[in-house]
């Protein structure tokens, strides 16, 4: 049972435009959500996070939105740059634990 789902395995966006990556979850006990970026032959790199008590968190070009009623998370990258091309993983954490549940990832390709 996949508790964290990223239904789009890939996404292509033109440089300068907005990239929107989506993530859905099923467990209401998750209280902390994160996005990681992964380049080939490297480990995942933390990008941005959001607590379940918030609905938006912004860090430079990256904004994460949380819709708890829909159990939906999205990452917006504006403007998109070719260096953003990577696999993006959504992750959720159980309240009171260190256990992260990861989605299957979305491969973003930003076209120059």
């Amino acid at each position: 049972d996949q508790q964290v789902k990223q239904n789009s395995p890939s996404l292509s966006v033109q440089e300068g435009r907005i990239s929107i990556l989506n993530c859905d979850y099923t467990n209401s006990m998750f209280d902390y959500f994160l996005w990681y970026k992964k380049y080939p032959a490297e480990g995942p790199t933390f990008l941005i996070s959001i607590s379940s008590i918030k609905d938006k968190n912004e860090d430079g070009r990256f904004t994460v939105f949380l819709n708890k009623s829909a159990k939906h998370l999205s990452l917006h990258i504006v403007p998109s740059q070719p260096g953003d091309s990577a696999v993006y993983f959504c992750a959720a954490k159980y309240s009171g634990t260190y256990k992260y549940i990861f989605g299957t990832g979305t491969r973003l390709k930003v076209l120059a």
Partner: protein, 114 residues
């Protein structure tokens, strides 16, 4: 953020053999974890490496197959025992400091079992 070094970065192993992966952190950390990423799949938590005691394994993972050591607050090892081609994956070490901050990952060990 902690700097995490994993060794080896990749290996090709014969089935039936074992491989030990090392994870070294440049500072003392509270929590250390081992994840597996099978081809085309998400990262799955194998176990939490506990300092000075036995690791805590997730459902579907057992100590006989994935023995883990954590002798101190900066180092851990994961052994993949009696390997089969199904064990071909990327194995990742991860560290965390507290419940409300992000976990950091090493660069991973790409294991191919032939």
């Amino acid at each position: 953020s902690a700097v995490i070094s994993q060794k080896p970065s990749r290996d090709i192993c014969q089935r039936g053999t074992s491989l030990t992966i090392q994870c070294q952190v440049d500072s003392q950390v509270t929590m250390m974890f081992w994840y597996r990423q099978q081809p085309g799949q998400s990262l799955t938590l194998i176990a939490t490496a506990n300092q000075g005691s036995e690791a805590t394994y997730e459902s579907g993972f057992v100590i006989d197959k994935f023995p883990i050591s954590r002798p101190n607050l900066t180092f851990s090892t994961l052994t993949v025992s009696n390997m089969s081609p199904e064990d071909s994956s990327i194995y990742l070490c991860s560290v965390g400091e507290n419940l409300n901050t992000e976990a950091f990952f090493g660069q991973g060990t790409r294991l191919t079992v032939v």
